[in-house]
């Protein structure tokens, strides 16, 4: 019996080769898309789950709310906070601080072994508990030797390989250059495996936190935002209460910060609003994960709906076969099983094709989302079960309705007529096709809106000019020679101007405390973003002054503030008022107010900013060079030579600022690319469904077409008549899709502080485009039907 089911199934699939292929391809594309997105989503939600007791590990974040500043959440906290809190709270059984070694602890780090030098800023200073917190795998050496002494360093396998080649690195002594004047010997105490790609913590090497640093001004500072700190909390039932307790304690030391505990599992996908999020390079907006899950299911559903439509359409031709089987004794369940078997065989084939598609497109996906997803996980025990589940589920989803419908056919009717189902049954098919189209049109509308928004972001006037500007990071060593660097670079042919700054334009600013007197005479101390700039900075970036003037020749106690800060301070004309940076700086004065410019990115609003112009190497970390467009590569070469010569450093890296701003919106760009691809696929599968529906309509109306032609209708008349049904479907789909698209896109746009308004033409464009695609698709069938000789169609009836 079962054998017979399969035999008949395969033969009847073979008989309708074209439809079977369309059917299976549609389903395979649906499954492949779904699995690819599934792999990505699974990877994203699996971040940091390889850590032992991961549920007990929390990142200690700070909610920073100094007077007069916009409060913000920071992942970086001060060094003494964790030890202080652990001492007074039993709930915290252990902590691990992970501070970027550069630039606060060491001005820069270059590792040297046997004359080979590697400069890296991916080294962290941490506590020995790091090994347990992040489940570090030792390749050589062991946990007992992990950054055991002040002069012990741990390297990841890839950094060890870079420095030592194939030579064993364990217990070798290397030189660590902190600047060009000072160096220390370190012993490689252990080599660890690279951090797994699904760990948010990405580092190349680890050092102990120097004791003398912890005793210094920064090391004993509760307010500084130095780096992340992780705590282990075994009894984690009431985290909210613990947060309150910890906050109460920390207020003894600093009233401007509240403690927040973020579960390890949430760091990767729920940290978009968190600032100073060091090491968490590949973080993703968790909202996108949900969107992707919805998209994956939508495409899968489209594939299944397609399958249902096609199966029913084909079944229309199978009246005779079904009737005969019933007459000679097939029970209804046997017909149902027969149809389900056919579906099962189709789905099985679709699955195999899908696996091929997945293998083919995984590298492209990896490139797109910047991950290292592999197919290996697909072949694991659990996932084979998952495939079996997909097989059964898809078979039932796609096969149940056709099976019930086909098996319910009345013998008499089925035997007599070639077409098994009349127009009454086609209404459900219309609903299904409409549903498919709705999804496809929503994709289309989304794509138009997203593209427009990204275009807007890239073209929006940020309030300063950044084209033709090269950005070069400066370490302290280079910054110490800044005067020479700048004058030598300015002499180069093709270089227009040179300036320098501290904050990363297009990234995070640095918070710093300022003191001033409010208009009512009250002394104020607040934290604001701070930029430390060369005197020509404002002119260089073509920023506008709305009051006062820019720095003059001797600017060390002069300050510029932005419009937002000016409003916050509260004077009608703040120029000439006293202000100064906290921490031992001489009192200064506001010399000018800069028109607000977007120094971060367009996701966030402009916040208060103070610009100082202090000649201090640690605050001169960015070098900007404006170049002429002609012969840029030649100019770059000379710049590189000059930099290497003046700073005596063989490393040179640069970035064009406009490229940098493109990268700021990279994750938005990724989403838009993915939606474009998936939307295209959705449209493709939907078109297959339409093609079959058109074929079915043409068959159903064959006699009518024949009669119309005999009565003198032209091919165009007939095509128009047949197309009308589809125009209605598109119209209904368009109306529903517009509502959904408008709602979802408004939600997406809320992520941006600066956003476009959704406009009517975006919908019209999507509508016209989808109508065109639909009409072209069905024209393959309608024109053929219209061209057919009416004599044949009438004779057959």
């Amino acid at each position: 019996m079962v054998k017979n089911y399969f035999k008949v199934a395969i033969r009847s699939l073979m008989r309708n080769k074209v439809y079977t292929s369309i059917n299976i391809i549609g389903l395979a594309v649906g499954i492949a898309t779904c699995v690819l997105i599934g792999l990505f989503v699974k990877n994203e939600v699996s971040f940091d789950d390889n850590v032992l007791n991961s549920k007990q590990i929390y990142r200690l974040n700070e909610y920073v709310h100094y007077d007069g500043t916009a409060p913000s959440l920071s992942a970086a906290v001060g060094p003494p906070i964790a030890p202080f809190l652990q001492a007074s709270h039993n709930e915290i059984s252990n902590y691990s601080r992970v501070f970027p070694a550069v630039p606060f602890i060491y001005p820069s780090i270059t590792l040297e072994y046997n004359g080979k030098k590697i400069k890296t800023d991916q080294i962290a200073c941490t506590d020995t508990s790091f090994a347990d917190f992040f489940n570090v795998k030792f390749i050589s050496g062991n946990k007992a030797n992990f950054i055991k002494t002040q002069n012990s360093i741990t390297l990841t396998k890839s950094l060890a390989h870079k420095l030592f080649g194939n030579e064993s690195a364990l217990n070798k002594t290397i030189v660590l250059h902190k600047s060009d004047t000072s160096a220390t010997y370190f012993v490689v105490g252990s080599i660890i495996a690279d951090m797994p790609q699904n760990s948010h913590m990405q580092i190349e090497g680890l050092l102990p936190i120097p004791d003398e640093f912890l005793k210094g001004y920064l090391g004993d500072n509760y307010g500084i935002l130095l780096g992340p700190t992780y705590v282990k909390i075994a009894d984690n039932k009431n985290i909210a209460a613990l947060e309150q307790k910890l906050t109460k304690s920390i207020h003894i030391k600093n009233t401007g910060i509240d403690i927040r505990l973020q579960p390890l599992s949430q760091i990767h996908a729920q940290s978009v609003d968190i600032n100073y999020d060091y090491y968490n390079y590949n973080k993703i907006d968790g909202k996108y994960i949900n969107i992707f899950i919805i998209i994956a299911l939508a495409v899968f559903l489209i594939g299944c709906v397609n399958f249902i439509n096609l199966t029913i359409a084909i079944a229309g031709y199978r009246g005779k076969e079904i009737a005969i089987k019933k007459i000679i004794g097939a029970k209804r369940t046997q017909i149902v099983l027969q149809v389900l078997t056919e579906t099962l065989v189709s789905v099985l084939m679709a699955l195999f094709i899908a696996v091929g598609l997945i293998a083919a497109f995984l590298p492209a996906l990896n490139k797109l989302v910047n991950r290292e997803l592999t197919m290996n996980t697909l072949y694991q025990h659990n996932n084979l079960l998952l495939f079996a589940a997909i097989l059964v589920f898809t078979t039932l989803l796609a096969g149940a309705y056709p099976a019930i419908l086909i098996s319910s056919a009345k013998i008499n009717k089925a035997l007599k007529s070639k077409v098994l189902f009349g127009s009454s049954k086609s209404s459900l098919r219309n609903v299904l096709v409409t549903g498919q189209l709705v999804i496809a049109v929503v994709f289309m509308i989304s794509l138009i809106v997203i593209t427009q928004q990204l275009k807007y972001l890239q073209q929006k006037d940020l309030g300063f000019a950044y084209t033709q500007i090269i950005k070069i990071p400066l370490d302290t060593k280079a910054a110490e020679k800044l005067t020479v660097v700048r004058s030598d670079l300015a002499k180069i042919n093709g270089v227009v101007d040179v300036t320098n700054g501290y904050m990363e334009l297009g990234g995070n600013g640095g918070l710093y405390g300022i003191d001033y007197k409010a208009p009512n005479g009250e002394a104020k101390h607040i934290s604001v973003n701070m930029e430390n700039a060369a005197p020509n900075y404002i002119d260089f970036f073509k920023m506008k002054l709305i009051a006062g003037e820019t720095f003059n020749k001797n600017p060390s106690n002069q300050y510029l503030i932005n419009e937002t800060l000016a409003k916050q301070i509260g004077y009608a004309n703040p120029v000439g008022k006293q202000i100064n940076l906290s921490g031992g700086f001489d009192p200064g004065v506001i010399v000018g107010v800069v028109k607000d410019f977007n120094y971060s990115n367009l996701h966030s609003k402009i916040e208060p900013l103070i610009i100082s112009s202090v000649d201090m190497p640690v605050w001169q970390t960015q070098l900007y060079i404006k170049v002429l467009p002609a012969n840029i590569s030649g100019t770059l070469k000379v710049i590189e030579q000059t930099m290497k010569r003046v700073t005596d450093d063989d490393q040179f890296s640069y970035e064009f600022m406009d490229e940098h701003f493109k990268q700021v919106y990279q994750s938005d760009q990724q989403v838009s690319t993915m939606i474009a691809i998936i939307g295209g696929l959705a449209l493709f599968i939907s078109s297959l469904g339409l093609l079959s529906l058109a074929a079915f309509v043409a068959l159903r109306r064959k006699k009518e077409i024949g009669v119309r032609k005999v009565l003198g209708a032209s091919v165009i008349n007939i095509t128009a008549t047949l197309s009308k049904e589809f125009v209605n479907i598109v119209l209904i789909a368009f109306i529903i899709a517009s509502a959904i698209g408008w709602y979802t896109m408004n939600m997406w746009l809320e992520n941006f502080s600066y956003r476009i308004a959704i406009q009517w033409w975006m919908f019209v464009f999507a509508g016209i485009l989808s109508l065109t695609i639909v009409l072209i698709t069905i024209s393959f069938q309608t024109i053929r039907a219209a061209l057919a000789n009416p004599v044949n169609s009438l004779k057959n009836e």
Binding site: M1, N4, A323, I328, R332
Partner: protein, 225 residues
């Protein structure tokens, strides 16, 4: 074997009601060979469909082997049908995707006969119909006469008590037609009851009795000598 009393069947469209069977009564005994004749639209096919349990009557009684089945639901009718009735059609109605052997085997599969038994019985009946040499061919590779033999083989493989034939020679030339009628006569002589709808007086002469219908009613019965 069959007793129908005051059987009625209507076909309704939106505005017109057509009477297909009008208080029709008849009896067929086990072992009989009955031919049903009449002009197009007289209700022959409707009657055959009801007799074959493919359709149910609107009014009246249908007793099959002593059981009243007029009110049976589709599942019960199907069950009764597959064990008792074989069908032969004018247009053969073989399944194109299955070979000769598989077409004949199908009813046995549906009644749950074991695989080895199926092979035995199918070979037996193909042998009897003299189309054993065509067992692996597909219907479209056969002549009309051969196709009808396969259809008859399929109808009898389950050893039904009743064979319903709807113009079994209608698509055949006279020589092939005669062969088919001989086959049916043989089956009848071995004890199978046969009811056949036909337009052909020639074919009807093979039967024991001719029932002539007009407008859904019996107008005449001829007993053949």
């Amino acid at each position: 074997m069959i007793k129908i009393t005051n059987l009625e069947k209507f076909y309704r469209t939106e505005e017109v009601e057509t009477i297909a069977l009008n208080k029709l009564s008849m009896e067929v005994n086990t072992g009989e060979f009955v031919a049903i004749m009449g002009p197009s639209g007289c209700g022959k096919s409707t009657l055959l469909n009801i007799l074959g349990m493919l359709d149910d009557p609107d009014e009246g009684s249908y007793v099959f082997n002593g059981v009243e089945i007029a009110h049976f639901n589709e599942r019960k009718r199907a069950d009764l049908r597959k064990h008792n009735i074989g069908f032969v059609f004018q247009s053969f109605n073989l399944i194109d995707e299955l070979t000769v052997f598989e077409n004949v085997e199908l009813p046995l599969i549906y009644t749950g006969v074991s695989s080895s038994e199926r092979v035995k019985r199918v070979e037996e009946v193909l042998d009897k119909m003299q189309i054993m040499h065509r067992r692996n061919h597909y219907p479209q590779q056969l002549s009309g006469g051969q196709q009808q033999r396969v259809a008859i083989a399929r109808a009898v493989v389950n050893k039904p008590k009743l064979i319903l034939a709807d113009e079994p020679t209608g698509n055949l030339d006279s020589s092939n037609g005669n062969d088919v009628m001989e086959l049916l006569t043989d089956l009848n002589e071995q004890g199978t009851t046969i009811i056949m709808v036909t337009h052909s007086e020639h074919d009807a002469r093979y039967s024991h009795r001719i029932i002539r219908l007009l407008d859904g009613q019996t107008v005449m019965e001829n007993i053949m000598v």
